[in-house]
Symmetry: C2
Subunit: 196 residues, 2 copies
């Protein structure tokens, strides 16, 4: 499970509660990873059992006590081991490509609609990465004046996300062009059934 190691990574920046860890996810790595609170809480418990983190409870009134987790030496060691460990590249697992693969079962115009819409969605994600997220990194950069060059690495992950979205968008374009010429060729061949 990479979630354990993502949490350990974040805890390098300082002790945090589960709730704060979730906020960190949402504001920094959501372009390539995500986790729900309902997954984070049990995972933290597990990590405590494994000795990767220490827990300190801050008693509160009117709301659940804050449980602040801090990375241990064991946690740091495990993180360092995991980072260096080789891993197979992430598989491309995209249900949209299933739709394309069986595209010959549908009219070409329907496939073009599909591609156009998917491209628009990708464009939204790209714009989000390019504008919102890069601004966020700049901000973090200035606020903490980039201790240990973390911002460089944050930016690299963003650039991968951006490269991926751009490649997808370009592919949608190429695919639509290919289908358009396919359609035009077949309509030129079967001209008899054409007209209004």
């Amino acid at each position: 499970m990479s979630l354990k190691h993502a949490l350990l990574g974040i805890l390098h920046y300082g002790p945090m509660t589960g709730y704060e860890l979730k906020q960190f996810f949402d504001s920094s790595v959501q372009h390539f990873w995500n986790a729900e609170l309902s997954q984070i809480y049990p995972t933290l418990k597990q990590m405590e059992e494994l000795g990767y983190v220490d827990k300190r409870v801050e008693v509160q009134e009117n709301r659940p006590n804050r449980k602040i987790y801090e990375i241990t030496a064991g946690g740091r060691a495990e993180f360092a081991r995991w980072v260096r460990e080789p891993m197979p590249p992430a598989a491309l697992r995209d249900p949209f490509l299933i739709k394309i693969f069986f595209g010959s079962e549908l009219p070409i115009d329907d496939m073009l609609i599909l591609l156009r819409r998917q491209q628009e969605e990708e464009q939204k994600l790209l714009a989000f990465s390019e504008i919102v997220l890069s601004a966020r990194i700049d901000h973090a950069h200035k606020e903490h004046h980039d201790i240990a060059g973390a911002a460089t690495f944050w930016r690299l992950t963003l650039e991968m996300a951006i490269a991926h979205r751009r490649a997808y968008i370009a592919w949608c374009d190429a695919a639509m062009h290919a289908l358009e010429s396919m359609r035009d060729e077949s309509s030129a061949a079967g001209e008899a059934s054409g007209g209004e």
Copy 2:
């Protein structure tokens, strides 16, 4: 679950057993989807209950009976509905980027090793897509002389996989260059500790 729909898609090409469906996966869509037999068998059972497929049993000696599944009108309708249904773009979910994100916790040279190895793995996958798979599509194209233009769509999915791998490889290059200049800058600044 997209597996149901992937199986329905394949069954458009003709009736098949679970075993044959698995072979189809391995020889055609494995660059963007995969499924184990242990997942396929129960899913086919479910699809039969839903009325998406009909089952015919072919009795065999010395080995389990072949259960041949054929898509029904209901299955075709469900597939057609699903294909046209909008879906959010697949999330980028890449544990390698977690490693990069926390790269400031490691020596830069270790990060360079990591990137180099990952790039090599991506290159292997790219070569596989470019050579083996495209040859496979050409072959399928000639064998069945491309009824209904299926090969065009097969090729499109392959091209997406290739575009993705190329973008990843290019990004690894850029990342390594960025880290190298980062390292060179910091060694130029802290020259006192330099030497041997």
